[in-house]
Every structure is written in structure tokens, then in C-alpha cells.
């Protein structure tokens, strides 16, 4: 059982304070006379803030329910993410049973391994067994049209939405000397830094964004937003070193690592959206789009962070 004792409460208290301040600013902005476009931006901003309240409340409630609650929350996140991913992926009738296996066998089994801390099988269930079994199941269905593409898409969906995301709650299974019972705090730190980086990239981009990094992919991802967001989030991650097993310098390096990976995740997932001709993966989170739009950065940051911590700190 790992909780988020003393330091975790401070982190969550800080998040609460930031949300209150953000809501106050959001409210003040609605009181000012604005152009139509400015009004739309402010409305979207307030919708995002409202959604952040809800997301933080759900995350905190799940953490309060202990390891089981946390693992179940991320399993649900994976389920909703994979549902969005497969919805956008053109599959055929021959993939139906393969998809059933992905959603109702491999996804629950994988999270069961997270919950029972079976690291050996957790690390290989999807990359070895699911990757070999799923194309076999599709092949048995006998439809060879676009076979390689279809197999690759299902495997990628499982890899991103289930395998990658699950490395966030998998932090709970690490045994870090001198930090026992605090792993959930490390999870809060990771999620906080990655999501803050997204928010700050958005804020810096809106305030002073000029040059788009990859204009064809996303006009909203600018050099100014990237530098401002990544650096400020990394500095906040450093300032919160006391909640982690890291020294301030290590905390800075790891925060920089996860914010850069978060940016990479956002970029890759944008490329997928452009490929499929959509703006958002879904519409379940007001102002944000779908579940995958919210967790795209975590998909890339979580596995690398997990392995960095596992390699150097356990």
C-alpha cells in the first residue's frame, strides 16, 4: 500500500489554490468588454477551467481510494482512450473479434498485472503476447484486405492507449529506497508537471506565440509557447523537488525530460488527428476535446519517466 501522505496533500492543496486563482481570473475576464473572437477564447478558457476542476476532483478521489482506485481510474482512462482511437481507425468486419480481445481481455489483464505488481509480465504482455496474438486472430478471420495496416493500427492503439498510459499507475509498484509509502506522490508530481506543461504551452502560445513549429500539423504549437511552457513547467517541477525522491537538480532534469516527451506526444497525436481529418479525438471533456486530447502528452512521458526512475532510483 503506497499512499500520498504529507507531501501529496501539499501538492493537491497547491493544485486547489491554482484552480481557485484560475477560476477568479476566468471570471474577471468575462466581465471585460471583448470582441467576438476574444469572447470565444474566454468562453473556451472557462470551459477548460471547469473541466480541470472535474478532472482534478476525479483524480484526487481515485488517489484517496488507494492503489486500487488509482489503477482502476487509469484502466478507465485507457478504455476511453482506446475507444476514441479505434473509432477513428478504419477497421473491417474481420477485425471485430481482435478488437474484442483488445478491449475486454488484454486491457483488463494488463491493468490486473499493474495492480498485482507483476512487473515481468506487465512489461511484455502487450509488446510480446498481444502483438503476436492479435494479428493471428485477424488472420483467422480470413480478410486480407489492408491486413498490415489494420494490424498495425490496432497494435498502435493498444500500445499508446493502454501500454504507455499504464506506466503512470505502474509507478506505484516501484520500490524506491527512502521513499516507501510515497509513490502516489511521485505519480501526482508526474501528472502535474506534464499537464502544467500543456497548460503553460497553451498560455504562452496564446500570449506571445508567433512562429509555428510545424505549421502543417498544428498552427497552435508555436516556438514561443513551446519554450515558455516547457521551461516554466520544468522549473515548477524543480521547485516541487521536496515531494519527490530527487535532488533539485535531478528534479529539473526529469521535469525537462517529461515535458519534452509530453510535447512530442502532443505532436505525434496531432499528426494522427490530421491524418484522420479530425480536430479532436472526441467530445467528452468540455473545452478539451476527447480523453486522448487530454492524455496525449502523458502517453509519451509516462513510460520513459517510469523506466528512468526504475533504472536509477530502485
Amino acid at each position: 500500500m503506497s499512499g500520498f501522505g504529507f507531501y501529496g496533500h501539499w501538492l493537491l492543496g497547491g493544485v486547489l489554490l491554482v484552480l481557485v486563482i484560475a477560476s477568479l481570473i476566468g471570471y474577471r475576464l468575462t466581465q471585460r468588454p471583448l470582441s467576438e473572437r476574444g469572447r470565444a477564447t474566454v468562453d473556451n478558457l472557462n470551459a477548460r477551467i471547469r473541466a480541470w476542476w472535474a478532472m482534478c476532483a476525479v483524480f484526487a478521489a481515485a488517489l484517496a481510494c488507494g492503489d486500487l482506485g488509482t489503477v482502476l481510474l487509469f484502466a478507465l482512462v485507457s478504455f476511453l482512450g482506446l475507444r476514441e482511437f479505434i473509432t477513428l481507425t478504419p477497421t473491417r468486419r474481420g477485425d471485430h473479434e481482435t478488437l474484442f480481445w483488445s478491449f475486454f481481455v488484454f486491457l483488463p489483464l494488463h491493468y490486473w498485472l499493474v495492480g498485482t505488481r507483476w512487473y515481468g509480465l506487465f512489461a511484455i504482455l502487450i509488446p510480446v503476447y498481444a502483438f503476436l496474438f492479435l494479428p493471428l486472430r485477424s488472420a483467422l478471420a480470413g480478410d486480407t484486405e489492408h491486413f498490415l495496416e489494420r494490424s498495425a493500427k490496432i497494435q498502435w492503439g493498444l500500445m499508446i492507449c493502454v501500454y504507455a498510459v499504464s506506466h503512470a499507475p505502474a509507478l506505484l509498484m516501484l520500490e524506491i529506497p527512502g521513499y516507501s509509502g510515497q509513490n502516489a506522490t511521485l505519480l501526482i508530481w508526474l501528472v502535474l508537471v506534464v499537464q502544467l506543461s500543456d497548460v503553460l504551452q497553451y498560455v504562452f502560445g496564446k500570449l506571445c506565440g508567433r512562429r509555428a513549429i510545424v505549421p502543417r500539423l498544428s498552427p497552435n504549437k508555436t516556438v514561443e509557447g513551446f519554450v515558455g511552457g516547457v521551461l516554466s513547467a520544468a522549473l515548477i517541477g524543480t521547485a516541487l523537488w521536496w515531494a519527490t525522491p530527487f535532488t533539485p537538480w535531478q528534479a529539473f532534469m526529469l521535469a525537462l525530460l517529461v515535458t519534452l516527451l509530453g510535447f512530442a506526444g502532443g505532436l505525434v497525436m496531432s499528426a494522427i488527428k490530421r491524418d484522420r481529418g479530425v480536430k479532436d479525438f472526441g467530445a467528452m471533456i468540455e473545452g478539451h476535446g476527447g480523453m486522448l486530447d487530454r492524455i496525449d502528452s502523458l502517453c509519451f512521458a509516462a513510460p520513459v519517466f517510469f523506466h528512468a526512475v526504475r533504472y536509477w532510483w530502485t
Partner: protein, 207 residues
């Protein structure tokens, strides 16, 4: 049958439907409202009726009745109970040779006269999801005998991928129910023309 079982079953089915499909209702040029109406939709899965039913605002559900095939829904006691008690479905014979048109229509017309709404799948049977089949004439006869009733086209997106014909294993995918502008039978409009127009109205919602 006691009320709480019906309500639990309804809540459970709507919940399962939400997990599997997300049930997104998109109302275009039409708004949900009480009163006699016919919702008619493309048909690709056993979940279709449930999805439209779940997409409606709660208070409208108990006044909206799917029209379904008796041979399927009477096949087991559970199905019979679900159809009759939970969905308030109207079961009809779909075998054309053994039925008389007006006998089939009477209960439907009675429902409309009582101010209730119907859900109808004019293709008559589930397709494979690739194209909408030609419509059967029931919709036309309802429109001719109750010209004042609004006919609302509905396009169900992705349902054929959730639970295609020939499997009992569902796959969760985001689905949408798109509701379009209501149609009415025009003066002197021929049966074939009306059915083509109604089918085109559903097809147009696919874009």
C-alpha cells in the same frame, strides 16, 4: 411485474449502452419534444433501437416505443420481458405473406393517436452497414393515414461496427445518433417517391 425491476433494467441497459457507444445525440434542425412522432433510422445492429431510446432525454423515453420484429423479441422470456416492459416496444409480424397490412398498422396508429412516439427501422432488417437498404412501405402508410405526425429521420453512425450482424461480442466505439429535419408526406406524393425521399433524408445525415 414490479416497477423497480423495470427501472433497474432500463438504467442498466442505458449504462451499458453508454459504455459501449458513448451515445452522442446530435439534433440538427430539429429539437427533442413530446408528442406523436415517428423516428425512422438506418438499421445495422441489435443495439440501434436502444441507442435512439437512450439518446432521447429521460422524460421522453417512456413515451417512445421501438417497433420491433416479433419473431426475434418473442423468442425468449427475457427478450419478451425487455421488449414489453422495459422498452415498451410494439412487436409486429415481419413476414409479409401471413399478415394483413391494416392489422399491423392499427396498434402503431393507436399509439400515435395516444400522443406517443415510435421508433421505426424502415429497412425491415439489419444491413451490413455499408449502404442503406430500400425502405419498406410501412412508413408511407403511417404518413398517409396520419399526415399531421412529424417523421424525424435519424442516422446511426458506427453501430454496425459495435455489434455487426453475425456476432454477439460487442466492441466499444463512439457512436452518434443524428436527428434531422422532420418530413411530411406531400399532397399527391407517390409511395415510391416518398420512400426514396425518406431514405435520402437519412442518408444525407451521414455526411
Amino acid at each position: 411485474m414490479s416497477g423497480w425491476r423495470v427501472e433497474c433494467a432500463a438504467a442498466l441497459l442505458v449504462g451499458v449502452c453508454r459504455v459501449l457507444t458513448g451515445v452522442r445525440a446530435l439534433w440538427r434542425d430539429v429539437a427533442p419534444q413530446a408528442g406523436p412522432r415517428v423516428y425512422f433510422a438506418n438499421h445495422a445492429s441489435h443495439l440501434d433501437g436502444l441507442v435512439i431510446w437512450a439518446a432521447l432525454p429521460g422524460p421522453l423515453r417512456q413515451h417512445t416505443h421501438p417497433v420491433a420484429a416479433r419473431d426475434y423479441w418473442d423468442a425468449s422470456p427475457l427478450r419478451h420481458w425487455l421488449a414489453g416492459e422495459v422498452f415498451g416496444a410494439l412487436l409486429i409480424e415481419r413476414n409479409g405473406e401471413t399478415r394483413d397490412r391494416q392489422t399491423v398498422l392499427e396498434p402503431l396508429l393507436a399509439m400515435l393517436d395516444a400522443g406517443e412516439a415510435l421508433i421505426l427501422f424502415p429497412e425491415g432488417t439489419r444491413g451490413d452497414g455499408s449502404a442503406i437498404q430500400p425502405f419498406k412501405s410501412g412508413l408511407y402508410h403511417l404518413a398517409r393515414q396520419r399526415p399531421e405526425v412529424e417523421l424525424v429521420p435519424v442516422y446511426l453512425e458506427n453501430l454496425n461496427r459495435v455489434l455487426p450482424k453475425g456476432t454477439v461480442l460487442p466492441v466499444p466505439l463512439l457512436c452518434a445518433a443524428r436527428f434531422g429535419a422532420p418530413l411530411r408526406l406531400e399532397d399527391g406524393e407517390l409511395r415510391a417517391d416518398f420512400l426514396t425521399r425518406a431514405r435520402a433524408a437519412v442518408e444525407a445525415l451521414a455526411q
